[in-house]
């Protein structure tokens, strides 16, 4: 079966459809035959089916790549389903995908959908433009027209946290949420060997300045272990700060990837 990646940015909501990658995977794992179960589930689907939230099967941890590899590997090896559009679109977060392409050559299994071009270029340009604005602000202190006082205030608040050389753990938390997506304090405690209290406090600190937001929480319901994601609006800020502190330049990697694909 041919697959194609539809890259998304931000984590709008928990994919609750039966074609959410996590759902598909868990049902297939529970079945006696993983591949057969996937095939059965997809055959039942409507013509416009796409697999949602593939990034939810991936975390940047030891063994965190296995579930997504298992699902996508199995889907690729399945025969095409008659009367279904090909390739089957799989939605995956842009930065998780960029990371996976770099470390695991993931584009061999899941190439970028051709229909994704314009949107992707727009996202990339939007981020690059926002980063240039931040660079200008940082260099000259002048507020460009495209940057509001609120943005500047948010940037300064984030800068105060991450500019210190001792903010190593804060950098790692930002990087982890950018690549792995929604995370709880427990995730960070386990994956980054931080203390639970520190992880929870860091998440709340970033939430208080509008960099992180709670994800998938129903209003009025207090989850014991909230999931946090980077606020979509704050993604360029995080990209910029990670580039200048940790040295991680995922937007640069994405640009290189796109250049290589479309050359």
């Amino acid at each position: 079966m041919q697959l194609a990646a539809k890259l998304t940015i931000g984590w709008a909501d928990i994919p609750r459809s039966q074609f959410a990658a996590a759902e598909l995977h868990s049902r297939a794992i529970a079945a006696p035959h993983y591949d057969a179960s996937l095939y059965y589930q997809l055959r039942k689907a409507g013509r416009r089916t796409r697999i949602l939230g593939v990034d939810q099967l991936f975390r940047q941890t030891c063994g965190g790549f296995n579930p997504v590899q298992q699902l996508i590997g199995a889907l690729v090896s399945l025969p095409a389903i008659a009367s279904r559009p090909s390739p089957l679109l799989c939605e995956i977060d842009l930065f998780a995908y960029t990371f996976l392409v770099g470390t695991h050559n993931f584009d061999r299994l899941l190439p970028i959908a051709e229909t994704n071009d314009i949107e992707l270029a727009e996202i990339q340009q939007g981020c690059a433009e926002a980063i240039r604005t931040l660079e200008n602000f940082e260099l000259t202190g002048s507020l460009p027209a495209s940057m509001s006082e609120l943005d500047a205030h948010q940037y300064l608040a984030l800068r105060r946290i991450i500019a210190r050389p001792s903010a190593r753990d804060e950098w790692r938390v930002l990087a982890r949420l950018l690549v792995s997506g929604p995370s709880t304090a427990s995730n960070l405690e386990r994956e980054l060997t931080l203390s639970y209290t520190f992880a929870a406090q860091t998440l709340q600190l970033f939430e208080s300045i509008g960099i992180f937001t709670r994800w998938g929480e129903e209003p009025g319901k207090n989850a014991e272990e909230p999931l946090f994601v980077i606020d979509k609006v704050a993604i360029p800020l995080v990209l910029f700060c990670l580039r200048e502190t940790l040295g991680l330049d995922l937007l640069g990697n994405l640009s290189a990837l796109l250049e290589a694909l479309y050359d």
Partner: protein, 316 residues
């Protein structure tokens, strides 16, 4: 002597010297004023004096400054005397005395220009040589990119990140935090090893497909090499397990540069099976933390899975 005095003591030579010195002084003052204004503006906005940008600060500004300095030098050293000679000819008219004055001005200006050039070429004042040579290197470096501010380089056997490049010094910050100043004018004859360039060279061909050619080098990514020693009694399954865990832990570290591959090479000796791992970290400063991440997880895993590690033999 008298004729030399005639040559030098004329208003055009004085004007030339004034232009030469005045323009440099004015340029420096103006640059300082600009820096002060930006500094004040940044402080007003709540930005501390230390700029967060590493690399970005860099090229555009440095190129602009280098262009400005080149233009100023060219205009004052070469163009100004030509203009002054022209003015002298027009101002002194075509009378005999006027012509003589023009010739004096022309000769005087020519003499001063030649003296200035000769002073530099024949090794006049070391400070002037250092300044001119350093300035020239700085200007060339802004465009021909032997290295940039933020690059990790080795100059005269000293490795460090370039934190400053001006007409007098290149400042390197070494991994252990020392700041080393290398005189800029000495760099013309020095081999400079730039880590970024090494990365491009070493890794082309290791990555697969079209992507390999096109992958952007993270300018500060740095090669990190680690060796893990397994006991010679370890089985092939244990080798594979160890290799897998090293690869996975490297990829799961927050410091990994994801656009470069993690490679593992085997080597055998009677004492140990060495698994040499090469990976790229986002910046050289994070190498120690990266190594620590991987080693800690590897040791924990080896302990859990009872993978035998090499033990150093007691000396005989």
């Amino acid at each position: 002597m008298i004729s030399l005095a005639h040559l030098l003591i004329n208003p055009y030579v004085a004007a030339y010297v004034l232009i030469l010195v005045g323009s440099q002084a004015f340029y420096r003052q103006w640059q300082q004023h600009k820096r002060d204004r930006i500094h004040t503006q940044r402080l007003t906005r709540g930005l501390p004096s230390k700029i967060l940008l590493n690399r970005t600060e860099q090229l555009t500004q440095r190129r602009r400054a280098a262009l400005g300095e080149t233009l100023l030098l060219f205009t004052t050293v070469i163009v100004a005397p030509i203009v002054l000679i022209g003015i002298a000819r027009v101002a002194n008219g075509s009378t005999e005395i006027g012509r003589q004055n023009s010739v004096n001005a022309q000769n005087g200006l020519g003499f001063v220009v030649l003296c200035a050039i000769g002073l530099v070429l024949l090794g006049g004042l070391p400070a002037i040589v250092a300044l001119v040579s350093g300035l020239a290197y700085k200007i060339v470096a802004a465009f021909s990119v032997p290295f940039q501010i933020g690059d990790y380089v080795t100059i005269k056997g000293i490795s460090g990140r370039v934190t400053l490049l001006n007409a007098f010094f290149v400042q390197l910050k070494t991994v252990n935090g020392q700041r080393v100043n290398v005189p800029t004018h000495t760099l013309w004859r020095e081999p400079i090893v730039t880590l970024c360039a090494q990365l491009c060279h070493q890794s082309s061909g290791q990555l697969s497909g079209q992507l390999a050619e096109k992958k952007a080098v993270n300018w500060q990514a740095s090669l990190c090499e680690m060796v893990f020693y397994l006991s010679p009694t370890a089985t092939s399954e244990q080798h594979a397990l160890a290799e897998n865990i090293i690869r996975e832990t490297a990829r799961s570290s927050a410091y990994i540069e994801p656009s470069w591959p993690v490679e593992i090479y085997y080597a055998q000796s009677p004492e140990a099976i060495a698994l040499t791992t090469t990976a790229y970290v986002t910046a050289i400063e994070h190498s120690a933390a990266f190594r620590s991440d991987i080693t800690r997880q590897f040791l924990a895993f080896a302990d859990r899975k009872q993978i035998p590690l090499a033990i150093a033999r007691a000396p005989l």
